[in-house]
Amino acid sequence: METQASILTTSQWEQVDLLAATLDREQAIWVSGYLAGRSQLAPPTRGDVPGLGAPAAAALPSGPVGRLATILFATDTGNSKELAGMLSAAAEAKGITTKVSDLAKYKSRDLKDEQDVLIIAATHGEGDPPPAALDFFEFIEGKRAPKLPGVRFAVLALGDSTYEHYCSAGRKLDERFEALGAERLADRVDCDVDYEDDADAWIAAVVEQLTPEAQPAAAAAPAGIGAAPAPAAPSAFSKRNPFQATVLENIAITGRGSSKETRHVELSLEGSGLTYEPGDALGIVAQNEPALVDLLLEETGLAADAPVTLKAGETTLRDALSSTLEITAATPRFLTQWAELAGADDLKALTASDQAKARTAYLDGHHVLDIIRRYPVAGVTAEQLAAGLRPLQPRLYSIASSLLAVPDEVHLTVSTVRYELHDMQRVGVASGHLATLTGDEEIVPVYVQANDHFHLPADDASIIMIGAGTGVAPYRAFMQEREAREAPGKSWLFFGERNFRSDFLYQVEWQELLSNGTLSKLDLAFSRDLRTPKTYVQDKLKLRGREVYEWLEDGASLYVCGDATNMAPDVHRALVGIIAEHGGIGDDEAEHYLAQMGRENRYRLDVY
């Protein structure tokens, strides 16, 4: 039973299993309730025993004992929903606990913990599922679909026989559940538009198969607990030895017409033993653009297989340029060394100690390739070229997910760096590399970079999250965490980007978090919307000044993430202004106020 193994260490599992075997039903219910309750009191931190909601249930012998019936429906025009209601009523009448959910809202990750799953699905479009349920269908048909042993299922397919793909949505589910190892409770029935009689018959047949006296504790086990992070047997993977993570999803989430390209990237940590806390960052070990490597070889006339010796040891020039050395932006060291080799006086001039400003400006405008092109060095050797280049550094990305919400996964929000220099399109090493990993079996080396100073405060503490652009990434992790933990603390997000239509990153998720109360307040600032005046996060902060101050006075923690050059300083200035105004104090005192918050870990920055 790998499902449990991934949640508990083997020895822990053996103990639970042993215990479970000796328990009668009442005892089992009491124990699972006890553990579930306990895991809520003490947040599951590293090493702590996570709750056992689902595992405890699954550990009990199924069959004789009542099971929770989860009724799911995929509807567009409402028929399936109506039938789901009837099925639920019929089952409850027989003393079976049911839970009815629209597949549009259903959390796919709960599926593996279900017991009896009864699905009523309509077909729409041309053999497609109802639009709202597409996410679930993609999940169940995708590579992340869990094995479903111990799950029993039945499908009722609604359709219209005048369509070519009659009831195909229902058929797909039926086949898929079987393929995933679930046990079929009753045969699928395909209903035409006059579905009433066939549906009744199916409902009767299904209810017949269900076993009464459902099991409260299992049903009551808080969602998400079963998915608590694995106790960290310290992972074998690190910056030095990165984990080869599979790319699960990688799409641009900036809509059409956006002036930017910001991507949402989902990576699998399965089997890595890597864990993280919201606020941590992920290190990406990127490769240089192959085209750029070729260009450098071409421009220098050096052989790809020319040997070079690096700290790591002997390798070929191509390998070195591809994965070990930074070959985009040039360093002063490279400048100095190349000036020598090329005997170029104007370059040498720039290396003078009093030329710092000019040097930086030059380096900003001229990358390695540009310098080599302008100052060709006849007969330069591979060793000489390599010697001037610094080692390629991994890039850090704020983690945009919580393990409580997506066990074994890590999500990132990456803005692709693209720019033109000397009439040539260029991309950032890591963001550009990530942007190309859109194939089926893409792999990228990663490691977790703990970032303790940017973690969440206690569950009941209020937080104000301020971020522009990709700076919103860690807040997505925060909210996933607080949602899963049902944290009572208030949360307020200030988010800024360019355009409402295309750049409102994770829009539907924030809307959902607002409506379910995980997020208490949301303020938006868009700087390039035609009809509204340029607005930045600091403007919105000032606008809400009084309330912001009240939150701070009540002990709220401040988080600022994103652009270090402009946003962070502007936000700081805004905060000083707010505290001065509403606290009726001078700017200096306001600075002290913030400094004090910093000491109390209530003013935290993560800017880049």
Binding site: E126, Y163, I251, I253, R256, H264, S502, F504, V508, L514
Partner: protein
């Protein structure tokens, strides 16, 4: 309401019933403070480009529908972005008339907020699409400034009133148009919520029973459509109107109207209890009796129309439920007099009279055929710019036709050359040359990407399909044969498909129902020949029918009449039997 003279009738579904027995929309209307709802709050909610479902329903009464770009709905779902919500605004333009200045104003708004396009509709008005939430007030103000509103352009009220565009009988037409205008002003809702929501004008007194003397808090059970036809042209499809008035004149002067009741198109696939219905001509009234008659007929529908199931709430079902005789009695009961016997009238077609005509008022009128009513600058044919330039001259008026086209009207003979020059300059060809009679008699509804009820393409697809059909007509020598063809993206029938000789209604992407056999001037419904089929099957079926038509038709016989006579499809005698 009913008095002794009126036989008692079943009232278990109408306004006499408690709200909880009626459709949820009824409670929504009652609880909306006369259509104000919380629209104002939703308009300033910056978290979403949408408004909530209840307010969306209420905004329809203000002429506005929330939509989203369905072409990229899925793409945005993956991007974790909400659908690209935009709004459609439909103006109220009785008889489809506007001045040159008003046209300039409409054009401005379209360029500022409406994606550089205007859409002429099958009910003689225009729509904006792609309006963003935060522009709605600006658009509304813009319209107000040129004296146009969008009151009751949608919703459970009397929609924009149609009036036939028949330039050659321009004197009679002017009289009829005036009556259509008065009717519309008379029949729209009165609520001050419109001014409050859109212009921030606080009402003089809190809204109460005085607000809607005719409608009350529950308004109509569903939309209610009124139209005026000027024979011999049935361009407005009089038989598709809930309430129709057929102009009766002597010596070119308006005398009165024959009254039709109970027309409508909307239906739902595989729901036989829903069907299109042609109106019945129930009698004659003198012109003076117009408004009382409107009140009487609408009053009957308001009080007896079904309000429990919206799919059954249109007047046409009330007429069939109660029977035409009862309905007529009920109307006369309210009027306090009997309708006169129907006066003779004759219709010849339901299309537009294209090109230049000089009216009996000595003025010139030119009807331009506009494909599916889409006003936009085409590659190499800047239609929108051309009309703008023409409007700038101020030397004509604009009339939207019931077939989504446009008549440049009331042009002094002396000014005609100037207008013609501009037409030539902007490629607005008034002649029908190079276009098959089929294309000139075609209509398609908007459908994708904006209409959220669309199941298949219409406006974006019909033109290319017609090109393929022309390929079939040509060998049979039928290119010049006027045949009406209409396509809609769903069975609701916005292009009045069920009274077209050839009709296609969408079922799913690329799939349509094919209907044949309606009367050329809208006097007979058509009949479904093929269900839920793709282009190949459609073309094959048409080719077969064309071959037979070319071979066996009697002189002057229309295609629709032919397919019925020769039994290619059975005749549909009444809407109730449409699905048999």
């Amino acid at each position: 309401m009913a008095t002794k003279s009126l036989p008692a009738t079943d009232r278990s579904r109408d306004i006499s019933q408690p709200l909880e027995k009626l459709a949820p929309e009824e409670a929504l209307k009652v609880g909306s403070d006369y259509l104000a709802g919380s629209i104002t709050t939703d308009l300033i909610d910056e978290i979403t480009g949408a408004v909530d479902e209840g307010n969306n329903k209420l905004m329809k009464f203000h002429g506005i529908y929330m939509q989203d770009d369905r072409d990229i709905r899925d793409e945005r779902r993956h991007q974790k972005l909400e659908p690209l919500y935009t709004f459609m605004l439909r103006a109220r333009l009785p008889g489809g008339f506007c001045t040159a200045d008003q046209w300039l104003g409409l054009d401005d708004i379209a360029r500022k907020y409406g994606n550089d396009t205007l859409r002429l509709t099958t009910r003689q008005t225009f729509q904006y699409h792609y309006l963003e939430k935060d522009t709605l007030r600006l658009v509304m103000e813009g319209l107000r400034d040129i004296g146009i509103d969008s009151k009751a352009a949608c919703g459970d009220v009397a929609r924009t009133v149609m009036s036939g565009v028949n330039p050659s009988l321009s004197l009679l037409h002017k009289q009829v148009y005036e009556h259509a205008k008065i009717t519309s002003e008379h029949a729209i809702h009165r609520t001050s919520a419109y001014e409050e929501v859109w212009f921030g004008e606080k009402p003089a007194q809190p809204r109460g029973d005085h607000e809607e003397p005719f409608y009350g808090r529950q308004y109509m059970p569903r939309k209610f459509k009124i139209g005026f036809a000027v024979p011999p042209s049935n361009d407005i499809d009089i038989y598709s109107q809930d309430l129709g008035f057929i102009a009766v004149a002597s010596e070119g002067k308006l005398k009165g109207f024959n009254v039709t009741v109970g027309g409508g198109m909307g239906r739902t696939d595989r729901a036989p209890e829903t069907y299109p219905r042609l109106g019945d001509v129930i009698g004659y009234i003198d012109a003076e009796q117009l408004l009382p008659t409107v009140d009487a007929v609408m009053g009957v529908q308001r009080d007896y129309g079904a309000r429990d199931v919206r799919a059954h709430s249109r007047f046409k079902y009330t007429v069939d439920d109660k029977g035409v005789d009862w309905i007529k009695l009920a109307i006369e009961d309210r009027l306090g007099f009997e309708l006169g016997p129907v006066k003779p009238y004759e219709f010849t077609e339901n299309g537009d009279l294209l090109g230049w005509v000089s009216g009996d008022d000595g003025l010139e009128h030119c009807t331009l055929w506009i494909e599916n009513g889409r006003i936009i600058n085409h590659e190499g044919r800047p239609l929108m710019d051309g009309l703008r330039e023409i409007a700038k001259t101020g030397k004509c008026t604009f009339r939207m036709t019931p077939n989504q086209s446009l008549t440049l009207s009331d042009i002094k003979p002396a000014d005609r050359p100037e207008i013609e020059a501009l037409m030539a300059e902007y490629g607005l060809d008034p002649s029908t040359k190079g276009r098959s009679a089929l294309r000139l008699n075609s209509m398609a509804c908007v459908a994708l990407p904006t209409c959220h009820l669309a199941m298949a393409e219409a406006e974006r697809y019909l033109p290319e399909l017609i090109t393929k059909i022309e390929g079939l007509l040509e060998p049979h020598g039928l290119t010049e044969e006027p045949i009406t063809i209409r396509m809609t993206g769903c069975p609701n029938g916005c292009a009045r498909p069920y009274i077209a000789e050839i009709a296609l209604t969408g079922r799913a992407p690329g799939k349509y129902n094919l209907y044949l056999g309606a009367g050329f001037h809208g006097e007979r419904l058509n009949k479904m020949l093929l269900e839920n089929v793709g282009e190949e099957k459609i073309l094959a079926a048409l080719d077969e029918a064309f071959a037979a038509y070319a071979k066996d038709r009697t002189p002057g016989e229309h295609f629709g009449d032919f397919v019925v006579r020769t039994g290619i499809v059975p005749e549909v005698k009444e809407g109730r039997f449409f699905n048999d």
